[in-house]
Amino acid sequence: MTDAAIAAEATPTTALDRVPVLSVHNLCIEVKTPDGERVELVRDVSFDVNEHEVLGLVGESGSGKSLTMLAVLGLLGSGLRIVSGSIRLRGQEITNLSFHEMQKIRGKAVSIIFQDPLTTLNPVLRVGKQVAEAIRLHNPDKGEAEIKARVIELLSLVGIPNPERRYSQFPNEFSGGMRQRVVIAMAMANEPDLLIADEPTTALDVTIQAQVMEVLAEVRARTGAAMVLITHDLGLVSEYADRLAVMYSGRIVEQAPSAELFASPRHPYTAGLIASLPQLERKVETLYSIPGFVPDPRKRPTGCAFAPRCAIANGRPLCLSQSPDLESIGANRAVACHYSAETAAWSTAYQAKLENVATETPLPVRKQGDGTTVLRASNLSKVFTVRGKGLQRSKLYALRNVSFDLKAGKTLGIVGESGSGKSTLARVLLRLAEAGGGEVYLNGSPLFSLRGRELRQRRRDLQVVFQDPYSSLDPRMKIHDVIAEPLRIAGSYSAERVNQLLEHVGLTAAAGQRRSPEFSGGQRQRIAIARSLALNPDVLILDEAVSALDVSIQAQIINLLKKLQQDLGLTYVFISHDLSVVRHICDEIAVMYLGRVIEYASTEAVFSTPAHPYTRGLLAAIPRIGMWPHGKGLLARGDLPNPMKPPSGCAFRTRCPMATALCAENEPVLSDHAETSHLSACHFALA
């Protein structure tokens, strides 16, 4: 049931309903930089949020979406201030209220859920106390017992088992998903009129994300709170928001009801974002990527801020000279573009181009390797011994019998939730961690028996790109030296080679003279890729290499990786939690759960006929554009079990909708079904 339907059913229309819960008008926020410069970060933003409504606020990092909502709470950081505009809550102007006066509103009329549940809760205070605080602050006359009863009620409302016991536990005794439930309980404590959810599930695994969004929808249905959902995830807003506002460089560039926005985006930025999103339903050879990157707010182009990246502006003088106003087009829709009428044509043409590629010409044949196996893992295992209380030691089986066989020029995707062993696998493959058993063969020769110089020689054929381009590059080194380092170690340094590598990843030789803090996240990831390519490796291990990037930048890097693979005949191990990206880039997929591979097949097979219920649960949990409601019965339930005490039999049975007594007794082996190469480890595979 949609939120609008709930609203229509549950509440009769009253006069109050016609006053928007939140009404922001012409809001401008600026920051004063340390050198005294004033920079506008939020520019002329206006929107309303109505009773029972979910407004999705979408944009890439730095678009001003979080700042706008922090301003609603009166919690702008130091140096930031509202220059002009108004914010009304139920008609009451709040921009002129003092910090002290806002205290009565914060947590009562408006509350917020932040992104990372690991840091949102105070680690040294008991969970119950933190929730109780939210109640006590606004109900000073309530007694302790009454407050405690209410906290326990709230904790069970958000689906936390054993709320009485959980009440006096500390945050580190909760899993990420459970912590976010606590945060939701805290936010809902006083049944606020407006809930702000700032990337509420970005730090969570996709199955947990689905559970948390479910809880949010339930508690909102009970209290009728309106919500602003701030996110960069277009799939998520398409499922959960009634209306969307897209922000770019501090401004709202488009506003529309969710379904209409995705069906017919009117701003070229929105259209570009949608086109650059890898989707589960279709695989295209090259993703659309919005060229360039979000401008520095201090050096915004005159005219339309998006013009330099725009697919339809074509340098027209109007775009370059005049910033377009947000103008209403039809009922409930508004767009800030001089030529918004042309966007539809661009989208259609782009779609047509995709379909032509898909139907008429076969996908361009990749520069294939000769079909020989480049990287083979055989029965890899890794056990960590974890110290418990006193002399207790328990074993954590991080990898159990992981095997795969990767042919030259192909990409193997490794997917799974956090704790599934993906990253341990990467470390073992690179010999950054010693395996407990098994062997890795690189170009046919075993890797684990190598020592010293031999190992260092061989390692050159196996390189890695990590997730976070901010910490994987030394900020004090010039980019030229960063890329030259492996060459110098190998004794094959030449400036031309470094410049050639920079060129490979779409940067100029001049970029080599700067240091990493001068580059954006996407550019840094390009540099990290250039560095990994320096020694002509055969295999690149990409450990969540595009996960930290914004959608439009992510598309650029994915396209770059695909192009490099074609040009250089590279073989990839692509580790990711994002199945849509995996679908787009991988030839084969291994799904991991608690250290085991539980499904291993070609990408097409995994997506068209997923054999393992866990894989099906993962696929069902991915929010996607225009697909609500999806098969929620397939969702994995609850949390990942404690890896130190895995369930008997099939490790997934505790969360599996299909589990029977058999599953508790026998652990299914990874085997093929119907003589295909589709391997899965389930008693009821493909059932």
């Binding site: 009562k108 602050l137 209380k389």
Partner: protein, 305 residues
């Protein structure tokens, strides 16, 4: 928790044994006390008689076993200078040492705590700058000169406070101020930076979003987290204060254990040295144990790990 404390106690016993073993051998390396005790014109026979009486004629390892055996019974031998048990000489000084160490510790940590909170709460940059400047300037002055300046001002000019000795609380003021304010800059800087680091955490924003006020958030949320590094450093420092207050004790003629040990070193009164080292090391490990336990109390992550 109990298991943790027992484990730490065992470690503490081993530490103390190690420390007095080291002290024993080091004092033996420092030279022959018999030569120092007797007048220069003493005969070889007299010297040997004294050495036998002190047990110095035995092989070193036997001496060590005898020493450890006696030490287990709490007997560290007689002082070579004043014929009283070395231990009682040391224990006489312990209250004075503890008094000075604890009161200067309280001054340092207490001031750092108050000023740290003040620096967080004030909206005036000049207050922050002034506090930082004073603390740094104080640390730049050596204990010795600062003590003398205090004596000059408060004892000689103003005649408010006694300049030396121990007895009344008034005697304690100047030494405690001298020593305590020296530690202040370190504590203050540490406390302030850990408060500043906590301020950036999301749980602070969350507390504000619940409707809490600035002071509440500071005291209820940030403080317990920000205290953790302060507890660690202050614990180590308190241990050092117990043994290392010699300069202050000398300036103010304070009858503490530190000064006793220094005097004993110059007199090669090794039973007193070893007894003194023993007492200080016991206090040191106890303080460390308290810090560890306190850490567990303050931070549930440590307790549950």
């Amino acid at each position: 928790m109990a298991g943790f404390v027992i484990k730490r106690l065992l470690q503490a016993v081993l530490t103390v044994i190690g420390v007095i073993t080291a002290a024993f051998f080091l004092t033996r390396l420092a030279g022959d006390p018999a030569a120092l005790l007797l007048p220069p014109e003493a005969t070889l026979e007299e010297t040997q008689r004294l050495r036998a009486a002190l047990g110095l004629d035995q092989p070193l390892f036997v001496q060590y076993l005898l020493f450890m055996g006696n030490a287990l019974k709490g007997d560290f031998g007689m002082s070579l200078r004043e014929s009283v048990p070395a231990m009682s000489l040391v224990l006489d000084r312990v209250p004075a040492t503890l008094e000075l160490a604890l009161s200067s510790f309280a001054v340092g940590v207490g001031l750092a705590f108050i000023l740290g909170i003040l620096m967080r709460m004030t909206r005036h940059n000049w207050v922050r700058d002034l506090i930082t400047w004073i603390a740094l300037a104080r640390q730049a002055i050596p204990v010795f000169s600062f003590g003398l300046v205090l004596i000059l001002i408060f004892s000689i000019w103003l005649k408010w406070l006694p300049s030396y000795g121990r007895g009344t609380p008034a005697h304690l003021v100047l030494p405690a101020l001298t020593l305590g304010t020296y530690e202040l800059a370190l504590y203050l800087r540490l406390f302030n930076s850990s408060l500043a680091a906590e301020q950036r955490n999301d749980y602070v924003r969350t507390a504000f979003a619940k409707g809490q006020g600035r002071i509440q958030v500071l005291l209820q949320h940030m403080l317990p987290n920000a205290l953790l590094p302060l507890v660690t450093v202050a614990g180590i420092n308190l241990g050092m204060l117990l043994g290392g207050t010699v300069v202050t004790e000398t300036v103010f003629s304070w009858p503490g254990a530190g000064r006793l040990i220094v005097q004993s070193v110059s007199q090669r009164d090794y039973p007193v040295i070893v007894a003194g080292v023993f007492v200080i090391s016991v206090m040191f490990v106890i303080i460390n144990l308290i810090v560890d336990v306190l850490y567990g109390v303050l931070d549930p992550r440590v307790r549950l790990a």
